[in-house]
Symmetry: C2
Subunit: 204 residues, 2 copies
């Protein structure tokens, strides 16, 4: 009977994403999102308890988009795990700016829970059980989280590597050599190369 709501949660999250896309993560504030929606700052608090909740919604909107249906089981389990990891990476990489939020709010996301369940199912079918399966899942998650941050916060081809290349090669001979080779490694090759190492280790 009272005045009807003027906003949906989707519109709110879309506005937040627009702000982040335009101004970066540092530009995300309640004020900025409110302005994006053409309403007053405090009006947002009718839809969201606090800033942290807004961040959580942002992350969930990303992770819920991940397809967590089991890949076709006529492929080897390692390829199926790789496919699951690939899907996660695609979703996260779509909005690298929110990656720091993804790391801190990951626990609350139903998308990640569904993803984990599917991966565990694959690992189960591959013969992993008990603590071995726990450790396998955590190792995969750990690698994905770390590698994605490495990729987006300290890219191989970015300033970090060029800084290294400018170091005194006498003190850091291998590092200098590695930086030179690093220029030839695409982010994809680096990420899936590392993943392949992990999967080989799981298999043996």
């Amino acid at each position: 009977m009272p005045r009807p709501r003027t906003l949906t949660q989707d519109r709110l999250v879309a506005a937040a994403h627009a702000v982040v896309d335009r101004e970066g993560l540092a530009g995300l504030s309640m004020r900025a999102v409110a302005k994006e929606l053409g309403m007053s700052t405090m009006g947002l608090y009718r839809y969201v308890a606090d800033r942290e909740t807004l961040e959580r919604l942002l992350v969930e909107s990303l992770l819920d988009a991940v397809d967590t249906a089991p890949p076709p089981d006529d492929t080897p389990w390692r390829e199926r795990v790789e496919e699951m990891v690939r899907r996660l990476r695609v979703a996260v990489s779509a909005r690298p700016a929110v990656l720091p939020l993804t790391v801190t709010h990951r626990h609350h996301s139903p998308g990640v829970l569904r993803w984990s369940e599917t991966v565990l199912t694959i690992l189960d079918e591959a013969g992993f059980d008990g603590t071995r399966r726990v450790i396998a899942l955590r190792a995969l998650l750990g690698y994905v989280i770390g590698a994605l941050q490495l990729e987006h916060l300290g890219p191989l081809a970015g300033p970090g590597t060029t800084t290294i290349a400018a170091l005194p090669p006498a003190d850091f001979p291998h590092l200098a050599d590695t930086a030179r080779h690093a220029r030839d490694v695409t982010p994809d090759a680096e990420f899936f190369g590392g993943l392949a190492i992990l999967l080989r280790g799981l298999a043996s």
Copy 2:
């Protein structure tokens, strides 16, 4: 000839660490550090360009403490890499509160550069070269960064896992089972278990 400095960089960093230890990372502010030192807020800016520089110093003080001398080379290369990773983990885990800063400021740390150089030397002796060595190093770094965050921001025995255990087991059977087993896995076992998988993958 002018008035002598009253502060050393060490005292400044120690004060910042004290604040973080007492109030957590969120309690770290220029005002708080200044109060800790008994001086005015703006006095700090004689020693530090801005807040980011202070954070960088905080991180560097941690990472420079890592022993980057090559481990004795009469042990297998995998054990030597494991030893290097262990040292890094010990240093970071000493102050888990600053872990988020460690991730973002890692590039600037000479300690990490020296660590990487040593690890590359070991990998070189183990026969890795070119892009294979690049990918191996990045995989190790990625795993370490991600696993440490998993360990300190979403601990196995923490609220995340108990939340999972309370989920409808019908929808998440493997996850529920995993959460039950997770209680028996110590952080050490989890971290080095995952690392062992990665090292096995590197060796094969």
